[in-house]
Point group: C2
Chain length 132, copies 2
């Protein structure tokens, strides 16, 4: 598994990502609003990984509650896997509680699934399926 991206919760994804582009020269990879997740996503490339800025569409969303409680900041890490269903089955066999027992489609159109932080040392971890 490799580190696919770090999710960063912010008030203003355009402003925060522009700051990272300007300071660190990271190119824009994706910009999308995901209504059913209540989030605007701006992704910057950083080698084989990404920095993913997440702006809540409203206070009553997962990222909105995180920003209200913690004032924004690093939100989750995501590992890339070849076969997400196999990875979920393996994690559940190891006793992990998944938030998503079935993969759903993420902002980039790829299958994703989140683990419960209680199962992963208190850290919110996402898996994304990337073939090859």
């Amino acid at each position: 598994m490799h580190l696919d991206h770090v999710g960063i919760a912010v008030d203003d994804a355009a402003a925060a990502s522009e700051t990272f582009r300007r300071l660190f020269g990271l190119p824009l990879a994706l910009e999308r609003t995901v209504e059913d997740q209540g989030v605007k996503v701006v992704k910057l490339s950083s080698g084989e990984s990404f920095c993913e800025f997440l702006e809540p569409l409203g206070p009553d969303t997962p990222v909105g509650r995180f920003v209200a409680k913690r004032g924004g900041g690093l939100h989750h890490v995501c590992f890339a896997v070849e076969d997400i269903r196999a990875a979920i089955a393996d994690l559940e066999a190891k006793g992990v509680e998944m938030i998503d027992r079935e993969p759903r489609t993420g902002a980039a159109g790829l299958p994703i699934a989140f683990l419960r932080p209680e199962s992963a040392a208190g850290i919110l971890v996402e898996l994304v399926e990337r073939k090859g």
Copy 2:
């Protein structure tokens, strides 16, 4: 610049890293106590990046205060640069306030420097010099 690692503040770096090794199959890359930073470091490899678990050696350390205040969690991101002095000069020319205006030596024996979060969209960002 590529994403070198994500720093994760925890109560128990051995336990948290063991959980990530068991769940995600990430191999151990480094285990070290850095007395002058007040921190025990356990690093796992994840593709070209690392997950860096940080355990405070006491409450009155930067990581100890973070764990006391926020209960642990994702702490910082680190980008690899070819020439850290040139990177610091470039960032300062762009108005960034550095925590470390001069590079110091990190856990892996490489030159590192941190930016003030106020200069980087509220995120604690580290640079590490990796040649080639």
